[in-house]
């Protein structure tokens, strides 16, 4: 399989009034052709910032301190705003959690799609653009595309807006689609619709998807591979089944155990004690050490190295060091 995107040892910090937030501290992953990669983590894990850094969309005060983002053989971390604009939408597209704030309220939905086409496909005529926009609206399951074309975002419901966002994101057939919590703001039944739509479209247009989410249910229904992040650092990655059924890292395990199982009744739910670390003064060792039931002295002092369990499955945890005998989880 062909590698589309390579993120190497990414470090991102955000300078704020209350101090420097070390949002991402050394995260690496690859994205292959036509796969879905899920990046899982809670708020403050750095999952969103990592992807904003890839797209050059860091918030004010944010900057990449170290690391490379290799897209089609080029390191795009030092690209200018103009160069990034040619990549955004054409090669890599992004959809966000809140479709209302990511659509322009003063432009019709049709204009927002054709604007994207105008920017990246200047060779198209106005009529071709309009036809393409109608085709896209139809593809994302918006009924009466001809009528909806001239309407404004506020005339759409939440689920429909997210469909519009997807149609804009896919307008120029990008190789990569980054979906940042695409269904978090939506109701369960609408979430199911959007997830089905994304799966269907992925087969049709053959893009790779990076889906960023905290919902492990969404992960297990969408992803081929999973990267787990915590406190700005890489925790575990592997194939979907490896991460869910041969879980290595205590954090991943705790996360999976803290979701109630609908099939069982009268279970005792596990909960990870404590609170995520403050990334203004992140812990020296493993960020999860303070909350980990199997924490060792080394975990509090040294950042764990990565241990490999299969070609695809890696975890960053001292329990798998030779010196921690019999430390491995089940």
């Amino acid at each position: 399989m062909k590698k589309l995107l390579e993120v190497k040892n990414m470090h991102v910090s955000i300078h704020t009034d209350s101090g420097v937030i070390q949002a991402v501290r050394g995260v690496s992953f690859d994205l292959y052709e036509s796969e879905t990669l899920a990046i899982v983590g809670e708020s403050g894990s750095g999952k969103s910032i990592t992807n904003k850094a890839i797209m050059g969309l860091l918030p004010v005060g944010g900057r990449i301190d170290e690391g490379e983002v290799i897209l089609n053989g080029r390191d795009i971390t030092h690209f200018s705003e103009k160069e990034m604009n040619m990549i955004r939408g054409a090669e890599v597209s992004m959809i966000f959690q809140d479709p209302l704030t990511s659509l322009n309220p003063t432009m019709t939905v049709g204009d927002q799609i054709t604007e994207m086409l105008m920017l990246h496909k200047p060779e198209m005529t106005a009529e071709q653009r309009k036809n393409r926009a109608l085709e896209l609206l139809d593809m994302v399951g918006i009924p009466n595309p001809a009528e909806r074309f001239g309407q404004y975002p506020h005339q759409f419901s939440g689920g429909m807006r997210q469909r519009v966002m997807i149609s804009i994101a896919l307008a120029c057939e990008p190789r990569i689609l980054i979906a940042d919590e695409p269904t978090t703001a939506l109701d369960v039944t609408i979430q199911a619709q959007i997830l089905e739509l994304m799966k269907k479209l992925q087969k049709k247009v053959n893009t790779s998807i990076i889906i960023i989410t905290h919902n492990l249910g969404v992960v297990s229904s969408m992803a081929d591979r999973v990267v787990v992040m915590y406190g700005g650092r890489f925790v575990e990655c592997g194939d979907l089944d490896e991460v869910f059924y041969q879980t290595k890292h205590p954090y991943t395990k705790g996360l999976l155990d803290s979701i109630p199982n609908l099939q069982l009744s009268d279970q005792k739910l596990y909960s990870i004690p404590g609170t995520p670390p403050d990334l203004i003064s992140p812990p020296h060792g493993c960020p999860f050490a303070a909350r980990c039931e199997r924490c060792m002295k080394v975990c509090e002092k040294y950042q764990p190295s990565e241990y490999e369990f299969s070609q695809t499955h890696r975890a960053s945890c001292w329990l798998y060091d030779e010196r921690a005998k019999g430390g491995a989880l089940i």
Binding site: D17, S18, P273, G274, T275, P277, D278, I280, S281, A289, A290, R291, C292, R294, C295, M296, K297, V298, C299, E300, K301, Y302, S305, W318, D321, R323, A324, K325, G327
Partner: protein, 308 residues
């Protein structure tokens, strides 16, 4: 990798109970006001402007008190004198020392601005708070009254006032206060309406907190930043209104001086003595800019959400 291999074996043992650290808050502890103060201090422009305002205020009191000239002593032998060591800003058409008159006028302007802003504050906060807290019909009637007041051009009200009452500083202040509090009332009302529906106010209601306590403990403390910021913008606007009134000739009367009066006089003598216009103009511009920058700084510091 080598560094990692050197970690001693004995560290690979359970760390034991770590529950104490789990809920620890690493950040230094201070109130939201303190955080705002830190942000304000980092805003160099706002700090510089605040210092300038302070210096101007002190000078406007000290200079007229210590100078050997007064703002009203005329010296016809020395009319329209150019700036010199004796008269740093020169003298005006009546030979009065412009240096003293500018500082005196600045003082009067600041006094008018401050007094007008404080009266706006009192009426506006009270009116806005009652309107928002009572709600329903009372709110509707009070809002209609505000709309009527906004509908009448405030300049007409002010000019009518100035004609009806004896001229003087307090007439100007009273005239500007008739309509000046409207903005404050609207802001306070909006803020309290917004706070009223917030969950912490609902929680207080459910806990049996009396309406008065809710106002004093929950609503007012969360409105203070809005009020302070609005006052910082109301002061320069009152100073400017007064200057405008004096400039069109309905403000203070001679020999009293405000910056507006001085600019008016300077404008009349523009050809013969441009310095009579330039110095008071610089003073008013400086005051306006400084207050605006400090106001902006306060807003960014205490209401950081407004920035975005």
């Amino acid at each position: 990798m080598n560094a990692q291999m050197n970690i001693p074996q004995e560290l690979f043992t359970p760390a034991g109970d770590n529950t104490a650290k789990q809920e620890h808050i690493a950040r230094q502890h201070h109130s939201a006001f303190y955080d705002g103060w830190i942000r304000l201090r980092k805003n160099k422009a706002a700090v510089v402007c605040a210092v300038i305002i302070l210096i101007i205020a002190v000078m406007s009191i000290v200079v007229p008190m210590t100078s050997k000239y007064t703002y009203f002593d005329t010296d016809y032998a020395n009319k329209i004198a150019k700036p010199s060591a004796e008269h740093p800003f020169g003298t005006d058409l009546f030979g009065r020392d412009q240096w003293v008159r500018i500082w005196y006028g600045t003082g009067i302007s600041l006094l008018i601005g401050l007094a007008a802003a404080l009266i706006n504050l009192l009426i506006g906060v009270f009116y806005g708070a009652i309107s928002a807290i009572m709600g329903g019909k009372v709110d509707a009637i009070m809002q209609r009254i505000i709309e009527v007041l906004v509908g009448i051009p405030s300049l007409i009200i002010v000019i009518l006032f100035m004609m009806a009452l004896p001229p003087g500083i307090w007439t100007i202040i009273a005239a500007m206060s008739v309509t000046g509090w409207v903005n404050m009332a609207r802001l306070v009302r909006a803020k309290i309406l917004n706070l009223k529906s917030q969950e912490f106010v609902l929680a207080a209601q459910l806990l049996g907190t009396s309406t008065w306590k809710i106002i004093l403990r929950h609503l007012i403390p969360n409105t203070i930043s809005v009020i302070v910021i609005q006052v910082m913008f109301a002061i320069p606007s009152a100073i400017f209104t007064e200057a405008f009134l004096s400039f069109i000739g309905v403000g203070l009367s001679e020999p009293k001086a405000s910056l507006g009066v001085l600019i008016n006089n300077g404008y009349k003598a523009l050809r013969a003595a441009p310095f009579l216009l330039i110095y008071p103009a610089i003073a008013i511009i400086l005051i306006m800019i400084c207050f605006s920058i400090v106001g902006d700084g306060l807003r960014d510091a205490f209401d950081p959400r407004m920035k975005h």
